[in-house]
Amino acid sequence: MRNPIGWAALTAFSLAFFAFIYAPLFVIIGYSFNSNPINMMIWESFTFDWYTGLLGLSDRSTDVSNRAAYVESTDLMLAALRTSLTVAMFTTTISTVIGTATAIALARYRFRGRGFYNGFMMLPMMMPDIVLGIGLLIFFVTIGMNLSILTIIIGHCTFLTSYVFIIVQARMAGLDPALEEASADLGASELTTLRKVLLPQLAPGIIGGALLAFVISMDDLVITYFVSGTGDTTLPVFIFGMIRRGVKPEINAIATLIILASVVIAALGLWLRSRKTD
Protein backbone atom coordinates (compact mmCIF):
# COMPACT_ATOMS: atom_id res chain seq x y z
CA MET A 1 0.00 0.00 0.00
CA ARG A 2 1.22 3.48 -0.73
CA ASN A 3 1.69 5.85 2.15
CA PRO A 4 -1.05 8.58 1.86
CA ILE A 5 1.03 11.26 3.60
CA GLY A 6 4.09 10.60 1.46
CA TRP A 7 1.92 10.54 -1.62
CA ALA A 8 0.36 13.92 -0.74
CA ALA A 9 3.79 15.39 -0.09
CA LEU A 10 5.07 14.12 -3.41
CA THR A 11 2.05 15.56 -5.22
CA ALA A 12 2.51 18.91 -3.48
CA PHE A 13 6.18 18.94 -4.40
CA SER A 14 5.43 18.18 -8.04
CA LEU A 15 2.83 20.93 -8.21
CA ALA A 16 5.19 23.42 -6.57
CA PHE A 17 7.94 22.42 -8.98
CA PHE A 18 5.81 23.03 -12.05
CA ALA A 19 4.38 26.24 -10.58
CA PHE A 20 7.92 27.52 -10.04
CA ILE A 21 8.84 26.82 -13.66
CA TYR A 22 5.66 28.00 -15.35
CA ALA A 23 4.43 30.84 -13.12
CA PRO A 24 6.71 33.48 -14.75
CA LEU A 25 5.45 32.47 -18.15
CA PHE A 26 1.82 32.75 -17.09
CA VAL A 27 2.50 36.15 -15.48
CA ILE A 28 3.85 37.42 -18.79
CA ILE A 29 0.94 35.96 -20.71
CA GLY A 30 -1.49 37.54 -18.25
CA TYR A 31 0.16 40.97 -18.41
CA SER A 32 0.13 40.90 -22.20
CA PHE A 33 -3.66 41.24 -22.06
CA ASN A 34 -3.68 44.10 -19.49
CA SER A 35 -4.73 47.38 -21.03
CA ASN A 36 -2.89 49.53 -18.44
CA PRO A 37 -0.12 51.22 -20.45
CA ILE A 38 1.67 52.84 -17.49
CA ASN A 39 1.90 50.12 -14.86
CA MET A 40 1.39 46.57 -16.15
CA MET A 41 1.21 45.22 -12.61
CA ILE A 42 -2.08 46.96 -11.97
CA TRP A 43 -4.91 45.25 -13.81
CA GLU A 44 -7.05 47.65 -15.80
CA SER A 45 -9.04 45.65 -18.36
CA PHE A 46 -8.66 42.93 -20.97
CA THR A 47 -7.27 43.99 -24.33
CA PHE A 48 -5.72 42.70 -27.54
CA ASP A 49 -4.30 46.16 -28.22
CA TRP A 50 -0.65 45.19 -27.66
CA TYR A 51 -0.96 42.37 -30.17
CA THR A 52 -2.76 44.37 -32.81
CA GLY A 53 -0.39 47.26 -32.16
CA LEU A 54 2.62 45.01 -32.62
CA LEU A 55 1.36 43.89 -35.97
CA GLY A 56 0.64 47.51 -36.94
CA LEU A 57 -3.14 46.90 -36.99
CA SER A 58 -4.09 49.50 -34.39
CA ASP A 59 -2.61 52.79 -33.33
CA ARG A 60 -2.70 52.20 -29.61
CA SER A 61 0.77 52.11 -28.22
CA THR A 62 2.72 53.26 -25.25
CA ASP A 63 4.34 55.90 -27.39
CA VAL A 64 1.08 57.84 -27.71
CA SER A 65 2.91 61.10 -28.01
CA ASN A 66 5.08 59.95 -30.89
CA ARG A 67 3.22 57.67 -33.23
CA ALA A 68 5.82 57.84 -36.01
CA ALA A 69 8.54 56.49 -33.74
CA TYR A 70 6.29 53.63 -32.70
CA VAL A 71 5.44 52.56 -36.26
CA GLU A 72 9.11 52.62 -37.08
CA SER A 73 9.87 50.33 -34.15
CA THR A 74 7.19 47.88 -35.31
CA ASP A 75 8.90 47.71 -38.67
CA LEU A 76 12.21 47.21 -36.90
CA MET A 77 10.77 44.39 -34.87
CA LEU A 78 9.35 42.64 -37.91
CA ALA A 79 12.70 43.09 -39.65
CA ALA A 80 14.42 41.56 -36.62
CA LEU A 81 12.00 38.64 -36.70
CA ARG A 82 12.73 38.15 -40.40
CA THR A 83 16.47 38.20 -39.70
CA SER A 84 16.04 35.70 -36.87
CA LEU A 85 14.06 33.32 -39.08
CA THR A 86 16.53 33.64 -41.96
CA VAL A 87 19.49 33.04 -39.65
CA ALA A 88 17.75 30.10 -37.95
CA MET A 89 16.86 28.44 -41.25
CA PHE A 90 20.33 28.71 -42.72
CA THR A 91 22.08 27.73 -39.47
CA THR A 92 19.76 24.78 -38.92
CA THR A 93 20.38 23.47 -42.43
CA ILE A 94 24.16 23.93 -42.36
CA SER A 95 24.74 22.67 -38.82
CA THR A 96 22.42 19.68 -39.30
CA VAL A 97 24.27 18.55 -42.43
CA ILE A 98 27.75 19.04 -40.93
CA GLY A 99 26.82 17.71 -37.49
CA THR A 100 25.19 14.57 -38.91
CA ALA A 101 28.03 13.88 -41.32
CA THR A 102 30.59 14.28 -38.52
CA ALA A 103 28.66 11.99 -36.19
CA ILE A 104 28.49 9.27 -38.86
CA ALA A 105 32.15 9.64 -39.78
CA LEU A 106 33.36 9.52 -36.18
CA ALA A 107 31.22 6.50 -35.37
CA ARG A 108 32.03 4.44 -38.46
CA TYR A 109 35.61 5.22 -39.46
CA ARG A 110 38.86 4.73 -37.60
CA PHE A 111 41.47 7.40 -38.26
CA ARG A 112 44.31 9.19 -36.56
CA GLY A 113 43.21 11.88 -34.12
CA ARG A 114 39.66 10.55 -33.87
CA GLY A 115 39.55 11.03 -30.11
CA PHE A 116 40.74 14.61 -30.39
CA TYR A 117 38.19 15.28 -33.10
CA ASN A 118 35.47 13.99 -30.80
CA GLY A 119 36.60 16.31 -28.01
CA PHE A 120 36.82 19.28 -30.33
CA MET A 121 33.24 18.70 -31.44
CA MET A 122 32.04 18.93 -27.84
CA LEU A 123 34.11 21.95 -26.88
CA PRO A 124 31.97 24.74 -28.40
CA MET A 125 29.04 23.52 -26.29
CA MET A 126 30.98 23.75 -23.04
CA MET A 127 32.53 27.10 -23.86
CA PRO A 128 30.83 30.13 -22.21
CA ASP A 129 28.81 32.04 -24.81
CA ILE A 130 30.48 35.28 -23.95
CA VAL A 131 33.94 33.86 -24.69
CA LEU A 132 32.74 32.42 -27.98
CA GLY A 133 31.07 35.73 -28.86
CA ILE A 134 34.15 37.83 -28.14
CA GLY A 135 36.37 35.32 -29.91
CA LEU A 136 34.19 35.38 -33.03
CA LEU A 137 34.03 39.18 -33.00
CA ILE A 138 37.83 39.53 -32.77
CA PHE A 139 38.22 36.88 -35.46
CA PHE A 140 35.86 38.61 -37.89
CA VAL A 141 37.53 41.96 -37.28
CA THR A 142 40.98 40.41 -37.73
CA ILE A 143 40.17 38.91 -41.11
CA GLY A 144 38.43 42.13 -42.12
CA MET A 145 34.94 40.72 -42.42
CA ASN A 146 32.08 43.19 -41.99
CA LEU A 147 29.49 42.21 -39.40
CA SER A 148 26.29 41.23 -41.17
CA ILE A 149 23.70 38.49 -41.30
CA LEU A 150 26.48 36.30 -42.71
CA THR A 151 28.62 36.64 -39.59
CA ILE A 152 25.59 35.80 -37.43
CA ILE A 153 25.00 32.62 -39.46
CA ILE A 154 28.69 31.63 -39.24
CA GLY A 155 28.72 32.37 -35.52
CA HIS A 156 25.61 30.26 -34.86
CA CYS A 157 26.91 27.37 -36.97
CA THR A 158 30.12 27.16 -34.92
CA PHE A 159 28.31 26.00 -31.82
CA LEU A 160 25.03 24.59 -33.16
CA THR A 161 26.93 22.01 -35.20
CA SER A 162 28.09 20.61 -31.85
CA TYR A 163 24.53 20.28 -30.57
CA VAL A 164 23.37 18.42 -33.67
CA PHE A 165 26.53 16.29 -33.55
CA ILE A 166 25.91 15.18 -29.97
CA ILE A 167 22.27 14.29 -30.53
CA VAL A 168 22.92 12.37 -33.75
CA GLN A 169 25.94 10.68 -32.18
CA ALA A 170 23.79 9.39 -29.32
CA ARG A 171 21.38 7.89 -31.84
CA MET A 172 24.29 6.50 -33.84
CA ALA A 173 25.74 4.81 -30.76
CA GLY A 174 22.51 2.92 -30.23
CA LEU A 175 22.44 1.66 -33.81
CA ASP A 176 23.43 -1.93 -34.61
CA PRO A 177 26.38 -1.78 -37.05
CA ALA A 178 25.03 -5.01 -38.53
CA LEU A 179 22.19 -2.97 -40.10
CA GLU A 180 24.59 -1.30 -42.52
CA GLU A 181 26.38 -4.60 -43.09
CA ALA A 182 23.08 -6.29 -43.84
CA SER A 183 22.30 -3.59 -46.38
CA ALA A 184 25.70 -4.01 -48.07
CA ASP A 185 25.33 -7.78 -47.90
CA LEU A 186 22.04 -7.51 -49.79
CA GLY A 187 23.72 -5.59 -52.59
CA ALA A 188 23.40 -1.93 -51.60
CA SER A 189 26.29 0.44 -52.31
CA GLU A 190 27.43 2.77 -49.53
CA LEU A 191 25.36 5.63 -50.90
CA THR A 192 22.25 3.47 -51.15
CA THR A 193 22.83 2.22 -47.60
CA LEU A 194 23.13 5.81 -46.38
CA ARG A 195 19.92 6.79 -48.12
CA LYS A 196 17.78 3.74 -47.43
CA VAL A 197 19.03 2.54 -44.05
CA LEU A 198 21.31 4.89 -42.16
CA LEU A 199 19.49 8.22 -42.61
CA PRO A 200 16.01 6.76 -41.94
CA GLN A 201 17.36 5.07 -38.83
CA LEU A 202 18.99 8.30 -37.66
CA ALA A 203 15.97 10.43 -38.63
CA PRO A 204 14.58 10.94 -35.09
CA GLY A 205 18.02 12.14 -33.95
CA ILE A 206 18.53 14.34 -36.98
CA ILE A 207 15.08 15.93 -36.67
CA GLY A 208 15.57 16.41 -32.93
CA GLY A 209 18.98 18.00 -33.49
CA ALA A 210 17.62 20.28 -36.21
CA LEU A 211 14.70 21.45 -34.04
CA LEU A 212 17.05 22.11 -31.15
CA ALA A 213 19.42 24.03 -33.42
CA PHE A 214 16.50 26.07 -34.76
CA VAL A 215 15.21 26.93 -31.29
CA ILE A 216 18.66 27.81 -29.90
CA SER A 217 19.45 29.93 -32.95
CA MET A 218 16.15 31.82 -32.58
CA ASP A 219 16.85 32.28 -28.89
CA ASP A 220 20.54 33.17 -28.85
CA LEU A 221 21.35 36.59 -27.44
CA VAL A 222 24.94 36.67 -26.22
CA ILE A 223 26.84 35.45 -29.27
CA THR A 224 24.53 37.23 -31.69
CA TYR A 225 24.98 40.45 -29.73
CA PHE A 226 28.70 40.37 -30.53
CA VAL A 227 28.60 39.29 -34.15
CA SER A 228 25.58 41.20 -35.47
CA GLY A 229 26.16 44.45 -37.33
CA THR A 230 24.19 47.64 -36.99
CA GLY A 231 21.93 46.76 -39.89
CA ASP A 232 20.87 43.21 -39.07
CA THR A 233 19.46 42.53 -35.62
CA THR A 234 17.80 39.34 -34.50
CA LEU A 235 14.65 39.31 -32.39
CA PRO A 236 16.36 38.55 -29.03
CA VAL A 237 18.88 41.36 -29.58
CA PHE A 238 16.02 43.69 -30.56
CA ILE A 239 14.01 42.78 -27.44
CA PHE A 240 17.08 43.23 -25.29
CA GLY A 241 17.44 46.73 -26.78
CA MET A 242 13.76 47.51 -26.11
CA ILE A 243 13.99 46.40 -22.50
CA ARG A 244 16.89 48.73 -21.86
CA ARG A 245 14.49 51.55 -22.64
CA GLY A 246 11.95 50.20 -20.15
CA VAL A 247 9.62 47.20 -20.05
CA LYS A 248 6.63 48.05 -22.20
CA PRO A 249 3.40 46.02 -22.57
CA GLU A 250 4.34 45.21 -26.16
CA ILE A 251 7.23 43.10 -24.84
CA ASN A 252 4.74 40.90 -22.97
CA ALA A 253 2.86 40.43 -26.21
CA ILE A 254 6.06 39.54 -28.10
CA ALA A 255 7.07 37.13 -25.33
CA THR A 256 3.65 35.47 -25.42
CA LEU A 257 3.85 35.01 -29.18
CA ILE A 258 7.34 33.51 -28.84
CA ILE A 259 6.09 31.11 -26.15
CA LEU A 260 3.26 30.10 -28.49
CA ALA A 261 5.71 29.50 -31.35
CA SER A 262 8.00 27.44 -29.10
CA VAL A 263 5.11 25.28 -27.93
CA VAL A 264 4.09 24.67 -31.54
CA ILE A 265 7.67 23.69 -32.50
CA ALA A 266 8.07 21.44 -29.47
CA ALA A 267 4.73 19.76 -30.17
CA LEU A 268 5.75 19.26 -33.77
CA GLY A 269 8.98 17.66 -32.64
CA LEU A 270 7.21 15.30 -30.26
CA TRP A 271 4.69 14.39 -32.92
CA LEU A 272 7.43 13.63 -35.46
CA ARG A 273 9.25 11.51 -32.89
CA SER A 274 6.17 9.53 -31.98
CA ARG A 275 5.61 8.66 -35.63
CA LYS A 276 9.04 7.07 -35.88
CA THR A 277 8.63 3.65 -34.38
CA ASP A 278 11.36 1.06 -34.54
Binding site: D176, A178, L179, E181, A182, A184, D185, L186, A188, A203
Partner: protein, 355 residues
Protein backbone atom coordinates in the same frame (compact mmCIF):
# COMPACT_ATOMS: atom_id res chain seq x y z
CA UNK B 1 35.45 -32.40 -58.66
CA UNK B 2 35.30 -28.65 -58.50
CA UNK B 3 33.92 -26.96 -55.44
CA UNK B 4 31.63 -23.97 -55.15
CA UNK B 5 33.84 -22.20 -52.65
CA UNK B 6 37.57 -22.73 -52.45
CA UNK B 7 39.65 -21.07 -49.77
CA UNK B 8 43.42 -21.45 -49.94
CA UNK B 9 45.87 -20.53 -47.23
CA UNK B 10 43.75 -17.69 -45.83
CA UNK B 11 45.50 -15.58 -43.22
CA UNK B 12 44.31 -12.67 -41.13
CA UNK B 13 46.12 -11.19 -38.16
CA UNK B 14 44.67 -8.69 -35.71
CA UNK B 15 46.60 -6.33 -33.50
CA UNK B 16 45.38 -6.71 -29.92
CA UNK B 17 44.87 -3.64 -27.72
CA UNK B 18 48.07 -4.62 -25.91
CA UNK B 19 49.98 -4.42 -29.20
CA UNK B 20 50.34 -8.17 -29.68
CA UNK B 21 49.48 -10.12 -32.83
CA UNK B 22 46.54 -12.47 -32.89
CA UNK B 23 46.23 -14.85 -35.80
CA UNK B 24 42.45 -15.07 -36.28
CA UNK B 25 42.94 -17.06 -39.49
CA UNK B 26 46.20 -18.98 -39.57
CA UNK B 27 46.39 -20.60 -43.00
CA UNK B 28 42.87 -21.86 -43.60
CA UNK B 29 42.15 -24.27 -46.48
CA UNK B 30 38.51 -25.12 -47.04
CA UNK B 31 36.37 -26.39 -49.90
CA UNK B 32 32.60 -26.23 -49.86
CA UNK B 33 30.45 -28.15 -52.35
CA UNK B 34 27.55 -26.61 -54.27
CA UNK B 35 24.84 -28.19 -52.17
CA UNK B 36 26.60 -28.73 -48.90
CA UNK B 37 25.73 -27.78 -45.35
CA UNK B 38 29.02 -26.96 -43.68
CA UNK B 39 29.28 -25.88 -40.05
CA UNK B 40 32.18 -23.91 -38.61
CA UNK B 41 32.41 -25.03 -35.02
CA UNK B 42 34.70 -23.86 -32.27
CA UNK B 43 34.97 -21.94 -29.01
CA UNK B 44 34.74 -18.15 -29.07
CA UNK B 45 37.84 -16.55 -30.49
CA UNK B 46 38.67 -19.55 -32.71
CA UNK B 47 38.31 -17.51 -35.91
CA UNK B 48 35.05 -18.97 -37.17
CA UNK B 49 33.27 -15.63 -37.33
CA UNK B 50 36.31 -13.97 -38.92
CA UNK B 51 36.29 -16.66 -41.60
CA UNK B 52 32.59 -16.09 -42.25
CA UNK B 53 33.10 -12.33 -42.45
CA UNK B 54 36.01 -12.81 -44.82
CA UNK B 55 33.70 -14.77 -47.13
CA UNK B 56 30.98 -12.11 -46.95
CA UNK B 57 33.58 -9.38 -47.48
CA UNK B 58 33.35 -7.55 -44.15
CA UNK B 59 36.82 -8.72 -43.23
CA UNK B 60 39.81 -8.61 -45.56
CA UNK B 61 42.46 -11.30 -45.79
CA UNK B 62 46.14 -10.47 -45.27
CA UNK B 63 46.98 -13.23 -47.74
CA UNK B 64 45.41 -16.23 -49.38
CA UNK B 65 42.82 -16.72 -52.10
CA UNK B 66 39.11 -17.28 -52.12
CA UNK B 67 37.07 -18.23 -55.18
CA UNK B 68 33.36 -18.75 -55.62
CA UNK B 69 32.40 -20.82 -58.66
CA UNK B 70 35.90 -20.21 -60.02
CA UNK B 71 35.70 -16.40 -59.75
CA UNK B 72 38.03 -14.57 -57.40
CA UNK B 73 36.17 -13.08 -54.42
CA UNK B 74 38.95 -11.35 -52.52
CA UNK B 75 38.87 -8.06 -54.48
CA UNK B 76 35.08 -7.64 -54.38
CA UNK B 77 33.35 -5.36 -51.85
CA UNK B 78 30.53 -7.01 -49.84
CA UNK B 79 27.73 -5.60 -51.99
CA UNK B 80 29.17 -7.21 -55.13
CA UNK B 81 29.58 -10.71 -53.68
CA UNK B 82 26.93 -13.26 -54.65
CA UNK B 83 26.61 -14.49 -51.08
CA UNK B 84 24.11 -13.42 -48.44
CA UNK B 85 24.24 -13.51 -44.67
CA UNK B 86 21.84 -14.17 -41.83
CA UNK B 87 23.17 -12.05 -38.99
CA UNK B 88 23.26 -13.07 -35.37
CA UNK B 89 21.27 -9.98 -34.37
CA UNK B 90 19.04 -10.48 -37.47
CA UNK B 91 19.76 -6.81 -38.38
CA UNK B 92 16.22 -6.18 -39.60
CA UNK B 93 15.47 -2.65 -40.77
CA UNK B 94 13.09 -1.30 -38.14
CA UNK B 95 11.81 1.55 -40.30
CA UNK B 96 10.58 -0.82 -42.99
CA UNK B 97 7.73 -3.32 -43.10
CA UNK B 98 8.49 -7.03 -43.15
CA UNK B 99 7.73 -7.12 -46.88
CA UNK B 100 10.15 -4.29 -47.64
CA UNK B 101 12.81 -5.91 -45.49
CA UNK B 102 12.45 -9.17 -47.37
CA UNK B 103 12.39 -7.43 -50.75
CA UNK B 104 15.34 -5.16 -49.97
CA UNK B 105 17.87 -6.99 -52.16
CA UNK B 106 15.45 -6.81 -55.10
CA UNK B 107 14.61 -3.16 -54.43
CA UNK B 108 18.31 -2.26 -54.41
CA UNK B 109 18.87 -4.28 -57.59
CA UNK B 110 16.09 -2.33 -59.32
CA UNK B 111 13.60 -5.17 -59.73
CA UNK B 112 10.11 -3.93 -60.67
CA UNK B 113 7.40 -3.69 -58.06
CA UNK B 114 5.11 -6.44 -59.36
CA UNK B 115 7.88 -9.01 -59.67
CA UNK B 116 9.25 -7.97 -56.30
CA UNK B 117 5.92 -8.42 -54.52
CA UNK B 118 5.49 -11.87 -56.01
CA UNK B 119 8.96 -12.96 -54.92
CA UNK B 120 8.49 -11.48 -51.44
CA UNK B 121 5.25 -13.41 -51.02
CA UNK B 122 6.99 -16.58 -52.16
CA UNK B 123 9.93 -16.09 -49.79
CA UNK B 124 7.62 -15.38 -46.84
CA UNK B 125 5.69 -18.51 -47.75
CA UNK B 126 8.89 -20.55 -47.70
CA UNK B 127 9.74 -19.52 -44.15
CA UNK B 128 6.17 -19.90 -42.92
CA UNK B 129 5.30 -16.21 -42.59
CA UNK B 130 2.75 -15.87 -45.39
CA UNK B 131 0.56 -12.79 -44.95
CA UNK B 132 2.84 -11.10 -42.40
CA UNK B 133 4.31 -8.69 -44.93
CA UNK B 134 2.54 -5.57 -43.68
CA UNK B 135 3.85 -5.86 -40.13
CA UNK B 136 6.83 -4.11 -38.63
CA UNK B 137 9.74 -6.17 -37.29
CA UNK B 138 8.98 -4.75 -33.81
CA UNK B 139 5.59 -6.46 -33.94
CA UNK B 140 7.11 -9.92 -34.39
CA UNK B 141 8.40 -12.51 -31.93
CA UNK B 142 12.07 -13.52 -31.86
CA UNK B 143 11.42 -16.66 -33.89
CA UNK B 144 9.44 -14.74 -36.49
CA UNK B 145 12.20 -12.14 -36.83
CA UNK B 146 14.62 -14.96 -37.39
CA UNK B 147 12.44 -16.17 -40.25
CA UNK B 148 12.21 -12.69 -41.76
CA UNK B 149 16.01 -12.44 -41.71
CA UNK B 150 16.17 -15.82 -43.41
CA UNK B 151 13.62 -14.86 -46.08
CA UNK B 152 15.46 -11.60 -46.72
CA UNK B 153 18.77 -13.38 -47.24
CA UNK B 154 17.50 -16.03 -49.67
CA UNK B 155 15.34 -13.85 -51.89
CA UNK B 156 18.20 -12.88 -54.21
CA UNK B 157 18.93 -16.60 -54.74
CA UNK B 158 22.53 -16.61 -53.53
CA UNK B 159 24.64 -19.68 -54.32
CA UNK B 160 25.99 -19.60 -50.82
CA UNK B 161 24.21 -18.56 -47.63
CA UNK B 162 26.22 -17.63 -44.56
CA UNK B 163 24.60 -17.98 -41.14
CA UNK B 164 26.28 -16.36 -38.15
CA UNK B 165 24.98 -18.12 -35.01
CA UNK B 166 21.43 -17.30 -36.09
CA UNK B 167 19.74 -19.55 -33.54
CA UNK B 168 21.60 -18.45 -30.43
CA UNK B 169 18.88 -16.03 -29.29
CA UNK B 170 16.06 -18.58 -29.50
CA UNK B 171 14.85 -20.83 -26.71
CA UNK B 172 15.73 -24.51 -26.81
CA UNK B 173 12.51 -25.89 -28.33
CA UNK B 174 12.36 -23.25 -31.04
CA UNK B 175 16.06 -23.75 -31.75
CA UNK B 176 15.63 -27.47 -32.31
CA UNK B 177 12.65 -26.86 -34.57
CA UNK B 178 14.58 -24.26 -36.57
CA UNK B 179 17.56 -26.61 -36.93
CA UNK B 180 15.40 -29.11 -38.76
CA UNK B 181 13.68 -26.39 -40.80
CA UNK B 182 17.01 -24.90 -41.87
CA UNK B 183 18.19 -28.29 -43.04
CA UNK B 184 14.96 -28.79 -45.00
CA UNK B 185 15.18 -25.32 -46.49
CA UNK B 186 18.76 -25.90 -47.56
CA UNK B 187 17.73 -29.06 -49.41
CA UNK B 188 14.76 -27.31 -51.01
CA UNK B 189 16.85 -24.37 -52.19
CA UNK B 190 19.69 -26.55 -53.39
CA UNK B 191 22.35 -24.05 -52.30
CA UNK B 192 25.31 -24.26 -49.97
CA UNK B 193 25.03 -23.16 -46.32
CA UNK B 194 27.95 -22.20 -44.13
CA UNK B 195 26.75 -22.11 -40.56
CA UNK B 196 28.75 -20.72 -37.66
CA UNK B 197 28.08 -21.98 -34.16
CA UNK B 198 29.76 -22.82 -30.88
CA UNK B 199 27.03 -25.33 -30.09
CA UNK B 200 28.28 -28.82 -30.95
CA UNK B 201 24.83 -30.36 -30.70
CA UNK B 202 23.56 -27.91 -33.33
CA UNK B 203 26.54 -28.77 -35.55
CA UNK B 204 25.95 -32.50 -35.24
CA UNK B 205 22.23 -32.18 -36.01
CA UNK B 206 22.40 -30.14 -39.20
CA UNK B 207 25.73 -30.50 -40.93
CA UNK B 208 26.90 -32.51 -43.89
CA UNK B 209 30.40 -31.69 -42.74
CA UNK B 210 31.74 -30.02 -39.62
CA UNK B 211 34.86 -27.85 -39.55
CA UNK B 212 36.27 -27.79 -36.03
CA UNK B 213 38.40 -24.70 -35.48
CA UNK B 214 40.73 -23.58 -32.73
CA UNK B 215 42.84 -20.41 -32.48
CA UNK B 216 42.83 -19.62 -36.18
CA UNK B 217 43.35 -23.04 -37.68
CA UNK B 218 41.27 -26.07 -38.58
CA UNK B 219 41.62 -29.02 -36.21
CA UNK B 220 39.49 -31.43 -38.20
CA UNK B 221 37.06 -31.53 -41.10
CA UNK B 222 34.64 -34.41 -41.37
CA UNK B 223 31.08 -35.67 -41.29
CA UNK B 224 29.34 -35.47 -37.91
CA UNK B 225 29.86 -39.20 -37.51
CA UNK B 226 33.60 -39.03 -38.28
CA UNK B 227 34.07 -36.11 -35.95
CA UNK B 228 32.13 -37.77 -33.16
CA UNK B 229 33.48 -41.32 -33.51
CA UNK B 230 36.98 -40.62 -34.74
CA UNK B 231 38.22 -37.31 -33.38
CA UNK B 232 41.76 -36.57 -34.52
CA UNK B 233 42.95 -35.21 -31.22
CA UNK B 234 42.01 -34.50 -27.62
CA UNK B 235 40.67 -31.03 -28.43
CA UNK B 236 38.15 -32.33 -30.95
CA UNK B 237 37.24 -35.25 -28.71
CA UNK B 238 36.56 -33.00 -25.75
CA UNK B 239 34.83 -30.25 -27.71
CA UNK B 240 32.36 -32.56 -29.45
CA UNK B 241 30.04 -34.20 -26.99
CA UNK B 242 30.74 -35.75 -23.62
CA UNK B 243 33.94 -37.77 -23.54
CA UNK B 244 35.92 -40.03 -21.25
CA UNK B 245 39.67 -39.85 -21.92
CA UNK B 246 41.96 -42.57 -20.57
CA UNK B 247 45.72 -42.14 -20.92
CA UNK B 248 46.76 -45.80 -21.00
CA UNK B 249 49.78 -48.05 -21.52
CA UNK B 250 49.31 -51.17 -23.69
CA UNK B 251 49.79 -54.20 -21.50
CA UNK B 252 49.41 -57.07 -23.99
CA UNK B 253 47.97 -57.72 -27.44
CA UNK B 254 45.50 -60.60 -27.67
CA UNK B 255 44.32 -61.21 -31.24
CA UNK B 256 41.68 -58.60 -32.10
CA UNK B 257 41.85 -56.75 -28.81
CA UNK B 258 44.57 -55.28 -26.67
CA UNK B 259 44.56 -54.91 -22.90
CA UNK B 260 45.65 -51.54 -21.58
CA UNK B 261 45.92 -49.97 -18.12
CA UNK B 262 45.79 -46.44 -16.81
CA UNK B 263 48.43 -45.33 -14.32
CA UNK B 264 45.93 -46.05 -11.53
CA UNK B 265 45.25 -49.53 -12.85
CA UNK B 266 41.86 -49.17 -14.58
CA UNK B 267 41.71 -51.89 -17.26
CA UNK B 268 40.57 -51.07 -20.81
CA UNK B 269 40.10 -53.26 -23.88
CA UNK B 270 40.80 -51.66 -27.21
CA UNK B 271 41.26 -52.63 -30.88
CA UNK B 272 44.68 -54.20 -31.25
CA UNK B 273 45.38 -52.98 -34.81
CA UNK B 274 48.89 -51.50 -34.84
CA UNK B 275 49.31 -51.63 -31.05
CA UNK B 276 52.49 -52.86 -29.34
CA UNK B 277 52.95 -53.65 -25.65
CA UNK B 278 54.44 -50.76 -23.69
CA UNK B 279 53.01 -48.16 -26.07
CA UNK B 280 51.31 -45.13 -24.51
CA UNK B 281 48.05 -43.98 -26.13
CA UNK B 282 44.81 -42.22 -25.20
CA UNK B 283 41.64 -44.27 -25.25
CA UNK B 284 38.40 -42.38 -25.88
CA UNK B 285 35.03 -43.73 -24.93
CA UNK B 286 31.70 -41.87 -25.07
CA UNK B 287 29.39 -42.07 -22.01
CA UNK B 288 26.80 -44.08 -23.94
CA UNK B 289 29.38 -46.76 -24.86
CA UNK B 290 29.53 -48.22 -21.36
CA UNK B 291 27.19 -50.96 -20.27
CA UNK B 292 26.27 -51.51 -16.65
CA UNK B 293 26.76 -55.21 -16.11
CA UNK B 294 28.08 -57.99 -13.92
CA UNK B 295 31.63 -57.60 -15.26
CA UNK B 296 33.92 -54.72 -16.22
CA UNK B 297 35.56 -51.83 -14.41
CA UNK B 298 34.42 -51.90 -10.79
CA UNK B 299 33.37 -48.58 -9.30
CA UNK B 300 30.91 -46.63 -7.17
CA UNK B 301 28.21 -44.23 -8.38
CA UNK B 302 28.98 -40.79 -6.92
CA UNK B 303 26.22 -38.85 -8.64
CA UNK B 304 23.14 -39.84 -10.64
CA UNK B 305 21.37 -37.26 -12.79
CA UNK B 306 17.97 -38.06 -14.18
CA UNK B 307 17.66 -36.95 -17.85
CA UNK B 308 14.21 -38.25 -18.68
CA UNK B 309 14.79 -41.24 -20.91
CA UNK B 310 18.39 -41.65 -19.74
CA UNK B 311 20.27 -41.74 -16.48
CA UNK B 312 23.53 -39.84 -16.34
CA UNK B 313 25.98 -41.40 -13.87
CA UNK B 314 29.32 -40.33 -12.47
CA UNK B 315 31.28 -43.42 -11.50
CA UNK B 316 34.43 -43.42 -9.39
CA UNK B 317 36.61 -46.40 -10.44
CA UNK B 318 37.72 -48.52 -7.53
CA UNK B 319 41.30 -48.37 -8.79
CA UNK B 320 41.27 -44.56 -8.63
CA UNK B 321 41.69 -41.80 -11.23
CA UNK B 322 39.14 -39.37 -12.62
CA UNK B 323 35.42 -40.13 -12.55
CA UNK B 324 33.93 -41.87 -15.56
CA UNK B 325 30.80 -40.38 -17.10
CA UNK B 326 28.20 -42.92 -18.16
CA UNK B 327 24.82 -42.59 -19.84
CA UNK B 328 22.58 -45.53 -19.14
CA UNK B 329 19.25 -46.38 -20.76
CA UNK B 330 18.24 -48.81 -18.03
CA UNK B 331 19.84 -47.18 -15.04
CA UNK B 332 17.00 -47.97 -12.64
CA UNK B 333 18.25 -48.76 -9.18
CA UNK B 334 21.69 -47.25 -9.65
CA UNK B 335 21.48 -44.54 -7.04
CA UNK B 336 24.34 -42.68 -5.46
CA UNK B 337 26.62 -45.03 -3.59
CA UNK B 338 25.65 -48.10 -5.64
CA UNK B 339 28.47 -50.45 -6.64
CA UNK B 340 28.57 -51.03 -10.43
CA UNK B 341 30.68 -52.66 -13.12
CA UNK B 342 31.30 -50.81 -16.37
CA UNK B 343 31.71 -53.05 -19.40
CA UNK B 344 32.53 -51.85 -22.90
CA UNK B 345 32.84 -53.19 -26.43
CA UNK B 346 36.53 -52.88 -27.49
CA UNK B 347 35.41 -51.92 -31.02
CA UNK B 348 33.75 -48.76 -29.68
CA UNK B 349 37.01 -47.45 -28.24
CA UNK B 350 38.71 -44.76 -30.32
CA UNK B 351 42.49 -44.58 -29.88
CA UNK B 352 44.60 -41.43 -30.14
CA UNK B 353 48.28 -42.07 -30.80
CA UNK B 354 49.51 -39.59 -28.23
CA UNK B 355 49.07 -40.34 -24.56
Amino acid sequence: MTHLLEIRNARRTFITPEGGHLAALDGINLDVGANEFVTLLGPSGCGKTTLLRAISGFETLDSGTMTLGGADLTALPPFRRPVNTVFQSYALFGHMTVARNVGYALEVAGVGKASREAQVAEALEKVGLAGMGARRPSQLSGGQRQRVALARSIIAKPRLLLLDEPLSALDRNLRQQMQLELKTLQHALGIAFIFVTHDQEEALTMSDRIVVMRSGHIEQIGTPREIYRHPKNRFVAEFIGETNLFPVTIDRVDGETALARTAEGVEMHLPSAGRKPGEQVTAILRPADFNLGPTGIPGTVTRAVYLGSDLYLFVQPQAGGPEIRVISRDGAGFDEGAAVHLAHDPARVHVLEAA
